[in-house]
């Protein structure tokens, strides 16, 4: 497929059937969740909600039946995801495990690892963090310094991770660390491990973000003992595995739907008869959402066919996060409502919250500059 093709990929009927299920679930479980909480979207943590969603069979939908999944395709997961996101459901507890940890384990894990972790993920009970970034390794992920050294048939891990979303309320992290001090290849000598966040030697410290909330963390590893079963996939092949994981991380509709609650309150605020400026800007957002959804479905089709959607996903994420970030900017242009914290109308509160949150949309999951580099490579420029 050409980089710019994004051929039309309709949602197959056997995936579309899940929409009814998830909407029924949401109409029961979202009734009492106010807009300001919906604005949290996939940063909203609610373990009880996740467990109920798991019990309803709506997590790990693509996983094998023997692990509690429903062996559905990527489109089924897409349908469920977009409904949850559009409703602003608090999905953060299980989101990462469902989106990337379970598929990673299914692909690279041993049967024993799969049996141990996947059923809990599917039930909405076991939560994972992503251990990639370190204080000195942000965009330049290959410069990580955390290191696992052989000890008997296991390893001993030292180092630190940072910005790990939900580590303070997750059970495990899948971390990329060095297993060789010096590798000839810049992307060699790295491996992925499952780390029990309650294990001795692991310290998790929440970091307050600018909204005052605690979403991400700093993690310290001091002589953490890792047994042989902690290694995911192949020793030394961590980089390739992480790239596969990132394709899952970047490919979903959460990369353009994070600000949906603001679009909802904004439309409510403006009412049924917008002036021409309001109509233009709301329409511009809506039109781009349609186009992004079409592109995202095309990425889903690639995932479904087992193709690598890396650049297509980067393309959707870069356009999508730019749009999400524009929404608060546009909202404050279109109405006189000032942002308010802990008071004011739903719209004022959602505006205040998403205005503050928006800068992170183009950072988490890879910055816009890194994504454009991936696109440039796909175009044959690098």
């Amino acid at each position: 497929m050409r980089l710019t093709d994004f051929a039309y990929a309709p949602i197959p009927a056997d995936a579309e059937v899940f929409r009814r299920e998830v909407r029924d679930f949401l109409s029961r479980e979202m009734r009492d969740i106010p807009p300001i909480q919906r604005a949290d979207s996939w940063m909203g943590y609610d373990a009880e909600f996740s467990r109920k969603l798991g019990a309803a069979g709506l997590i790990g939908i693509t996983m094998p039946k023997r692990f509690g999944g429903r062996e559905a395709g990527a489109f089924a997961r897409y349908v469920i995801s977009e409904e949850l996101l559009a409703a602003g459901a608090p999905v953060s507890a299980h989101w990462i495990a469902d989106r990337q940890s379970a598929p990673l384990l299914l692909h690279f894990g041993t049967p024993a690892q799969q049996e141990r972790y996947i059923p809990g993920i599917v039930r909405g009970e076991t939560y994972f963090g992503i251990g990639m970034s370190e204080p000195n390794a942000g965009s330049d992920l290959a410069s990580i310094g955390s290191r696992a050294v052989r000890n008997g048939d296991g390893w001993v891990l030292n180092g630190r991770k940072i910005w790990t979303t939900n580590a303070h309320r997750s059970h495990y992290m899948i971390a990329l660390v060095r297993t060789e001090a010096q590798a000839d290849d810049r992307h060699g000598g790295m491996s992925q491990f499952i780390i029990d966040l309650q294990a001795p030697g692991v310290t998790v410290r929440p970091i307050r973000d600018l909204t005052g909330a605690e979403h991400f963390n700093e993690i310290f590893f001091d002589d953490v003992a890792l047994d042989p079963e902690a290694l995911v996939g192949t020793e030394g092949k961590g980089w390739a595995q992480v790239m596969a994981e990132l394709a899952f991380e970047r490919s979903g509709p959460e990369r353009f739907l994070s600000s949906m609650t603001l679009l909802h309150t904004l439309v409510e605020e403006i009412g049924a008869e917008p002036d021409s400026l309001q109509a233009f800007q709301i329409g511009r957002i809506g039109a781009r959402l349609m186009a992004l959804r079409a592109m995202s479905l095309s990425v889903t089709a690639q995932l479904d066919q087992g193709e690598d959607p890396a650049w297509a996903a980067s393309c959707v994420k870069d356009i999508g996060t730019a749009l999400e970030q524009e929404m608060p900017e546009i909202a404050q242009l279109l109405s006189a409502s000032e942002p308010r914290v802990d008071s004011g109308s739903d719209h004022q509160q959602v505006l205040a919250y998403l205005t503050q949150l928006a800068p992170c949309f183009s950072l988490r999951g890879g910055t816009r500059e890194i994504l454009r580099g991936i696109l440039a490579r796909g175009l044959g420029l690098r």
Partner: protein
């Protein structure tokens, strides 16, 4: 697949025959007889007309790639218009128009079965054999020769004529199907322009990448500079957006033009046209500003097509009003409804 076959045929016919010289001649008023002959020989204008009306029987969605290719190659003939007109005639139960055809988004009057009115902004109005218009709730096919013409050109010197008819007898006439919106021809025109814009942007992207890989400054190809790489990534994004949006509009319109999807597609494509043209010109430097280089054949068309059959602003406002009418809980379902879950046919 019909779609692949269409794309292949379009690349062969249009790619081989359309040269800068042919476009220049056309911009100076010549009708490219050879090209149009090849178009007819390959049945391209009849791609989406049903077999019962003399067409090839492809779906409207299949025709997307043909119309995108017409944009990609700056086809100096009313190919996109002919495909659209024959598709609409077929849906309305009428025979395909013989030869080339075009359309007028503004309507006229029908009295005692005769058509009168001044139709403006008709693409290739002087060259195309027939014009499709709407009058009194009817779809009316007119012979262009029956109108008196005032010529005009868009920024790419493509003809955008005014034809005045005085009591002309329609070549064919049928009531506008009940499910069709009254502004069907405006929507149809907006839809084909969206696809042509996507094709034009694809051409710009290829041209700009080739240039960036071969132009050396400061001892290396300019494509090695991150600033240029990121500009081209943005051009690729705009191309992808326009193409995905336009294709979605076609897919949503299998049985009749789908107003919301077309509005969204034209709004997205029109914005992409301006942004894409600006990036391509920046990357090509002074050479791209010459008449000699063929970049401008595409950029001047993009600057024209984005305004034709409704600008970005016109269509974005249309989408915005639709969404505001839905209210808070209807916004997401409305956006979803623009992207059909299943192809209506095939």
């Amino acid at each position: 697949m019909m779609k692949d076959m269409f794309e292949e045929t379009a690349e062969r016919v249009l790619g081989d025959l359309i040269t800068p010289e042919l476009i220049i001649a056309s911009e100076n008023g010549a009708w490219p007889e050879g090209l149009w002959h090849a178009v007819e020989e390959n049945g391209l204008g009849l791609a989406a007309a049903p077999e019962s009306s003399g067409g090839v029987g492809g779906s409207w969605h299949d025709a997307f790639v043909l119309i995108r290719a017409a944009g990609r190659h700056s086809a100096p003939v009313p190919l996109a218009e002919t495909i659209l007109v024959n598709w609409l005639l077929g849906l309305a139960g009428l025979d395909a128009a013989p030869g080339s055809a075009t359309l007028a988004a503004t309507g006229g009057d029908l009295a005692d079965g005769r058509f009168s009115g001044t139709l403006g902004d008709i693409p290739w109005g002087g060259q195309a054999g027939h014009v499709l218009a709407v009058a009194g709730g009817n779809l009316v096919l007119l012979s262009s020769a029956d109108g008196s013409r005032t010529g005009a050109f868009n920024a790419a010197r493509e003809p955008r004529d005014t034809l005045t008819f005085d009591s002309a007898s329609p070549v064919a006439l049928a009531p506008l199907p009940a499910s069709w919106p009254p502004e069907t021809l405006l929507l149809g025109g907006a839809m084909i322009r969206s696809a042509q814009i996507a094709g034009g942007l694809g051409r710009l992207l290829d041209t700009a990448i080739d240039y960036a890989n071969q132009r050396i400054q400061f001892g290396r190809a300019i494509g090695k500079f991150q600033a240029i790489q990121h500009q081209l990534a943005l051009l690729a994004e705009q191309t992808a957006l326009a193409s995905a949006a336009a294709e979605m509009a076609f897919a949503a319109s299998e049985t009749a033009p789908s107003p919301a999807a077309i509005a969204a597609a034209k709004a997205v494509a029109s914005e992409a046209a301006g942004q894409g043209a600006a990036i391509a010109h920046a990357v090509l430097g002074a050479i791209g500003f010459t008449y000699e280089h063929d970049l401008h054949f595409t950029t001047r068309r993009l600057w024209s097509w984005r305004s034709e059959f409704g600008s970005q602003s016109y269509w974005a406002q249309d989408v915005g009003r639709r969404l505001c009418r839905q209210g808070e809980s209807g916004v997401w379902p409305a956006i979803m409804a623009m992207t059909p879950a299943r192809a209506a046919k095939g």
